[in-house]
Chain length 112, copies 2
DNA sequence: CTCTCCCCATCGATAGACGATGGGAAAGCC
DNA sequence: GGCTTTCCCATCGTCTATCGATGGGGAGAG
């Protein structure tokens, strides 16, 4: 139970950003978000449910998304997540910060 | 002692890659590596010594760099780190993996 | 002598991702 | 009827990496 894990498939701290971005396409439930991330990234991003749901909880707590219970396309009970107004604002901030870091990192990688 | 920390200034897991890249410019001591990262990134990457030295230890353990004691430009005792042969090989792998993830993430950020 | 750089290093706390595991309901197959 | 697969939720325990604080020590300037 709880074995060591592989070198971290995902860049820690980026998951919330990816979720927020995904939700700009409209309301989605957790399972759907995971699927969409896999599809869009051509199977590269394999975000497990034990990473996804805690991240969604954090976003709920911060008030960046809201969740409402409903029925999925297949008539199953599901919680649909939507971006809030502050969520949209924060998404902009998060992207800027992410880009800032990426530019810095790319400078290092190219200067070498 | 050990207060909570800011949202992580650096992308966790990327530090080793940045160090390896930096060392392709030649042997360097820890302090110098930190300085160079700040300069090259235009002060964006502020890697503290408590992040840097543990990272260097890990790289030593993995045998990707070797360290040799010597004298710095200012005649101070310093440990100079150099890429090993396997270190160079691994650098290529790490970059590929990093790029793979970045491409995937960018797809998500652009598809939204 | 004191202060500021340089240069090393560790400890404790923290956050975040992961594997394993739990449940349950719908749909299809034998 | 059972059986398995797919969908959908969620938590617990473990681990890794980063960070702030803190320690020391030697060189050179004021």
């Amino acid at each position: 139970m709880g074995k060591p894990h592989e070198p971290s498939e995902l860049l820690p701290g980026t998951l919330e950003l990816l979720i927020l971005e995904t939700l700009t396409a409209g309301a989605m439930h957790g399972y759907g978000i995971a699927q969409r991330l896999r599809q869009v990234s051509d199977e590269v991003l394999q975000v497990g449910e034990s990473s996804l749901y805690p991240a969604l909880q954090r976003l709920l707590l911060k008030g960046w998304v809201k969740g409402e219970w409903g029925a999925s396309e297949n008539n199953r009970r599901a919680r649909f997540y939507t971006l809030t107004a502050t969520g949209r604002k924060q998404l902009v901030n998060e992207r800027q910060e992410f880009d800032r870091l990426m530019v810095a990192i790319q400078k290092v990688l190219n200067t070498a």
